[in-house]
Symmetry: C2
């Protein structure tokens, strides 16, 4: 493995003068960016540290970041300008923030208690204006499982899958931050024996556990991104729940791909964990056979060792005071196609990439039972429903179910970091008055 | 047929005091909106009249539109705010502009020669910030032709096609205004007999002749658009050329649909012809069997009688002074799924619709020879190349080829109107240095 690009911001001995609980997702080694507002602050950039948020606009306006970044890019309502600024700026800003927050570092923020607020005071917003949203299909196990369910008579893995990081464009307008209620969609579904479809609320509402990344500086029309420079083009990652209505999806998706079975909502976690924060957790991905074409060849260890889990709580569980049930545990480390390969491929035809474009991995599924990132896989298309702690069964989601995605990076010799949560609760479908 | 919603702006006797040539696309009955700039004007809203552009910002700032619309929505750099304003505002603005420009109407603009510029002085820009872009597949003839070519062993029309206005999300970042050069994309292609794909410039570059519409006020997450109100949600239409690399598309599109074979560029015409201008050309669409589900039932004559043509000129033709060759003539009138059905369907799962979202029809093809909207259909997958006036043959596009889409509405008793052009010239692929 080539050397990781580590610096003093990754030092596990570094601690913040802001109190950080040992199990916190947000120690000083993380420093993720998000957009928050409070009663007296309009939406602006914040940095998570422990269970507090540092108001980046406040400290930029006080001049404490002038040496590393242009004030304007730190004082907007979204992260797009910072994403556009490029990796040297991202790294300089990270170094400066780490120094401002560390014990023994610069003391400028010690006299600015108003530059912080608690998580409880803040409302989180989308981190970026998302121009285009691409969803990939990069887990070998997931693609195989889905192929078996959707095309039972054919080869589950299509001939192009090992050559191309397969993906499609999703709907950017319906990407919502964690906590946004998810209304059960209506749509067409048709059972194999029925003569005609019906338009009705989905009965097979599912989740997809994914990790997405935000593009950095981007490209102009006609440009490509060579594999050896793709690192400069990825700003950071978030959790993604690609809510999926399986009954709508299976009836509509031929031949142009998923559409209304996916476009009703996509939840993301609000804190963007930078690729610099993820650097210690970089690992080699699985061997790729056949070897990818030259433009898709790997240049670094391009995968990331990120442990993922999915929690579910039903309305009944919450009423009875049951803890959420962990229904899946898996890892991002073994994804077949890496984020770098995904971006290189998406730009390989010269399509414009804009700062803030979101690229999701596709469902992250492992090979072992209980390591799949969707209910359709975990329950084998509903044949083996999950049993919840209070005795309820779940083939697919019921109204009132709340799903929480979590992610955590751990490695010997490094401070663990996490992603926070991507959470959403299912609301009943709108009445069928237009049906 | 129910009555058309006509008013005095559609009066064929109405003429402008601005000179308009008899064959002009832009008589006073049209009044399309676009975004233009000149040497001394930054991008702003304009209205085409004859071969001149009325500077909407200039006349709004002079107070001449205060009775019909908020100044701010007329003084921006894109049409999104006007699109968001809704049909009563659109109609009032159209009525006022018609009155300001007609012989015998309000005289306010007679003393403002600076409020006009010529087409030759102006550079045209994208009319809107396009949030999401959906491309449908709504021509029965096109879907049948493509199905036969891409799935030669199966039923060309899949079982869902007559129930669902099939569509997918495209890339909004690469939508470009008419005149933008189109670089031939590189990508993976694989011939059936080859063991592995290659990454190389596309050899089967094609066009798709389409009409797209821009969404009006839009919807919030979870809302639907009932069929009887969909008219209030469509602002206007443009020509769309959905450039397609057939070799990339055929290798990549299973199972998630078109991706890099389409995302490299989409050209639109710069003038948005409002649905009010198109009102006289409203006609009933083809009978739909089976009858659509209730939420998709038609409420008006929902189709539009728009004659379309595709012109091609090669570099060699231009050198020899040949006129462009018309390679296809077809009509929008017989599209199976209407724009109203497309939008109702896209919003039927509660997905957010934003003002300025673009919805394209899919390739418009008729049943007769020479009425197909793509080369793959016109040449039967390259088997029968077109012959150009200078003797060249064309199965797919060559570098230097220039394609122009045109559209025109004609109806007995009404003044004809047109769309202007969506034009693009093919540039050679970028060198393969990253391949």
């Amino acid at each position: 493995m080539s050397a990781l690009e580590l610096d003093e911001t990754h030092d596990p001995e570094r601690v913040s003068w802001i109190e950080v609980a040992p199990e916190s997702d947000f120690p000083i080694q993380n420093l993720p960016f998000g957009i928050f507002s409070t009663e007296r602050r309009d939406p602006r950039i914040g940095v998570a540290i422990g269970d507090r948020i540092l108001d980046l606009r406040a400290i930029a306006e006080a001049g404490h970041l002038d040496e590393v970044a242009d004030r304007a890019m730190l004082c907007g309502e979204r992260l797009n300008e910072l994403m556009a600024a490029g990796r040297p700026v991202w790294r300089a800003l990270r170094g400066r923030l780490s120094d401002l927050l560390r014990v023994g570092g610069a003391r400028a923020l010690r006299d600015m208690p108003d530059a912080f607020c608690s998580f409880g005071e803040a409302r989180m917003h989308l981190p970026a204006r998302i121009g285009d949203y691409i969803d990939f299909y990069s887990s070998l196990e997931h693609a195989t499982n889905l192929g078996r369910l959707f095309r039972p008579t054919g080869d589950p893995l299509l001939p192009n899958w090992r050559w191309i990081p397969i993906g499609y464009h999703g709907r950017s307008a319906t990407i919502v931050p964690s906590g946004t209620p998810i209304r059960r969609p209506c749509g067409q579904r048709k059972s194999p024996e029925a003569e005609a479809p019906v338009f009705a609320p989905s009965r097979r509402l599912d989740i997809e556990l994914e990790i997405g990344f935000f593009a950095g500086p981007g490209t102009a029309l006609g440009e490509r991104i060579p594999g050896e420079r793709v690192r400069e083009h990825i700003f950071g990652s978030v959790l993604v729940n690609d809510w999926s209505a399986r009954d709508i999806q299976s009836w509509e998706y031929q031949p142009l791909g998923p559409f209304l079975g996916k476009s009703f909502a996509t939840t993301i976690s609000p804190w963007v964990v930078t690729m610099d924060a993820l650097e210690p957790f970089r690992v080699a991905g699985p061997v790729q056979i056949p070897a990818p074409l030259p433009y898709l060849q790997r240049h670094d260890p391009e995968n990331f060792s990120i442990a993922l889990s999915v929690r579910l709580s039903s309305a009944s569980m919450r009423e009875r005071g049951c803890d959420p049930s962990t229904i899946s545990r898996t890892s991002f480390a073994s994804m077949y196609w890496s984020q770098a390969q995904q971006l290189t491929h998406a730009a390989s035809n010269g399509a414009t990439i804009r700062p803030g474009d979101l690229f999701a991995s596709g469902t992250i599924s492992g090979a072992l039972p209980g390591s799949q990132g969707s209910l359709i896989e975990l329950t084998e298309n509903g044949a083996h429903p999950l049993e919840l702690p209070d005795g309820e069964k779940r083939a697919f989601l019921e109204d009132g179910d709340e799903v929480t995605l979590l992610a955590r990076c751990e490695r010997e010799g490094f401070r663990s970091i996490g992603f926070g949560a991507a959470q959403g609760r299912v609301m009943p479908a709108e009445s069928d008055r237009f049906a």
